[in-house]
Amino acid sequence: MSALLSVSDAHVSYGKVEAVRSVSLEVADDEIVTIIGANGAGKTTLLNAIMGVLPLKGATAFAGTDMTPLDIEDRVAAGLCLVPEHRELFGTMNVEDNLQLGAFRIPKATAARSFERVYTLFPRLKERRKQLAGTLSGGEQQMLAMGRALMGAPKLLMLDEPSLGLAPIIVADIFRTIGELRAAGVSVLLVEQNAQAALKIADRAYVMELGEFILSGSAKDIASNQRVAASYLGFQHEGASGI
């Protein structure tokens, strides 16, 4: 099985400050991979650099082609899609227009099918389709951001903190949907602070600390790793000193 996305020895810097150091990762077809880590570990920076929003030093390949010379727009056309942390919706346009623009790069006939698929995944969006995106609740905005990304029929969806600032019940809903994407043939690269929820749906995981991957492995192994449990899952294994 060849990797859908492969990044090797990636460095990303803001001026002289190196925010991501020598990171390598792979996402295979139909796989859900998560990157967990504390605030400021460089997760968002890494995703933005893979998308082309920030310059990345190192090699990135997507579906067998070298992505280095490609702009964001070309990467979108190739089937790579990012749902950014701040969602970046078109606030003064309605839900339907936002979704329609998500299908900007694909043929009209395919777009009609995408609409159906997104409305099935997120029935709430169908109810609100004439409402302006800026007036939606946080959870609905997150659904719209994911819906807009899915409209373009991506092969790999990169999600940046989809649970940020949302009520637990909506978070559960969002994570259930991410799990359903696999069945629809979409791979997912998920960046989360909510490590517990992320590890539950992911196949594999990377743990990021201060710009570097310190651990990687199957989600199950990572979840049972003592250090991860102590730092990110909020509970302690036997033998670890209590507070």
Partner: protein, 346 residues
């Protein structure tokens, strides 16, 4: 003052105001999509008007050659930018847009220009020429610095205004020109006489506003342009090229400018530098609209036109002063109403 004079002035004001409205709308459009304050809008007006006037006398205007020259430069820039991945398809596309298109326009102009060319053909040719210039102006002067601050873009804008105005002097000379009217029909209602030309001004202004509304409200490309204006990063993330949006905005602006020029050149004599003042009045309307609101801009443009008409009647020496003074209370009010905003870096 009696009512007849007032009606005349109002009619005059609305005719001018309609033109300013078109220009103001183009300015708002370009600013929203590219953050460029389009000072050379006035040159699009003069180039359109004077190209049309020259074509009407059977001569080939220098603007056609300028479009060709700008195309060559744009092609060079495209090749340079893509130097690391020169795929044949990319080169062919750049060639078609930057070389083949202006060459075809130039050939058409040479082939069709003559003393007996119908007015409609001359109009079409002038529009094509100015549209090409607008497109290439974006490619050459603004696309390479599209990510910089509004101030840098403004400097580039002033620079291109000066350059184009100088070229205008070369192409059209210091003498003013007038073009033939679109129609010589006239209509009298009460004390007012509407010429075919002024009716064309109203008709085309309304048609353009409706067309823009339809374009932005109902077509995918129009929505993509709005999306770029609302959220640049969001637009890029769904695959909308900001360069494409910029090109379309400039294309529309140059078309609107050229049409405005062709509409007014039968009414007033235009000189190579007249466009700047006309564009500036559209700019005042756009500023009153806050550079964001299309309807407010259109209404403000009618106000600017009327103020201009009345002040040229009462104090013709101070006509421009009065019109431009309009901007002061608006700026004061706007700066009081709006909280101070740091310019966003993106």
């Amino acid at each position: 003052m009696n009512t007849t004079i007032m009606l005349f002035l109002l009619q005059d004001g609305i005719t001018n105001g309609a033109i300013y409205a078109l220009l103001g709308l183009a300015l708002v459009l370009v600013f929203a999509v590219t953050r460029v304050i389009l000072i050379p809008q006035g040159e699009f007006v003069t180039f359109g008007a004077l190209s049309y006037a020259m074509l009407a006398t059977g001569q080939v205007p220098g603007t056609a050659k300028l479009a060709m020259a700008m195309g060559v430069v744009a092609f060079g820039l495209d090749l340079f930018e893509a130097r690391r991945s020169l795929r044949p398809r990319r080169v062919a596309r750049a060639f078609a847009l930057n070389i083949a298109l202006p060459a075809a326009i130039l050939a058409l102009t040479y082939g069709l220009a003559g003393p007996k060319t119908p007015i409609a053909v001359n109009i079409a040719l002038s529009l094509l020429i100015v549209a090409a210039i607008g497109l290439f102006l974006y490619r050459i002067a603004f696309q390479p610095i599209a990510h910089t601050s509004v101030l840098v873009l403004l400097i580039a804008s002033v620079g291109s205004h000066l350059a184009l105005q100088g070229l205008g002097l070369v192409f059209f000379g210091a003498e003013g020109l007038r073009g033939p009217a679109l129609s010589n029909a006239a209509l009298t209602i009460g004390p007012l006489r509407f010429t075919g030309q002024s009716l064309a001004v109203y008709g085309l202004t309304v048609a353009f506003i409706v067309a823009l509304w339809l374009f932005f409200g109902f077509t995918l490309m129009g929505k993509a342009l709005r999306a770029t204006a609302v959220n640049r990063l969001g637009a890029r993330l769904v695959g909308i090229r900001t360069t494409l949006s910029g090109q379309i905005a400039f294309l529309l602006a140059s078309l609107i400018g050229a049409i405005s020029g062709i509409l007014i050149v039968p009414i007033t004599t235009l000189y190579y530098d007249t466009g700047f003042l006309i564009g500036l009045k559209g700019f005042i309307a756009a500023i009153i609209g806050g550079l964001v609101s299309y309807p407010l801009t259109a209404v403000a443009a009618l106000l600017v036109g009327s103020v201009e008409a009345f002040s040229s009647f009462y104090a013709s020496n101070f006509k421009e002063v009065i019109v431009f003074t309009l901007i002061l209370p608006v700026l004061v009010l706007r700066s009081l109403a709006a909280p101070a905003v740091e310019e966003e870096k993106d």
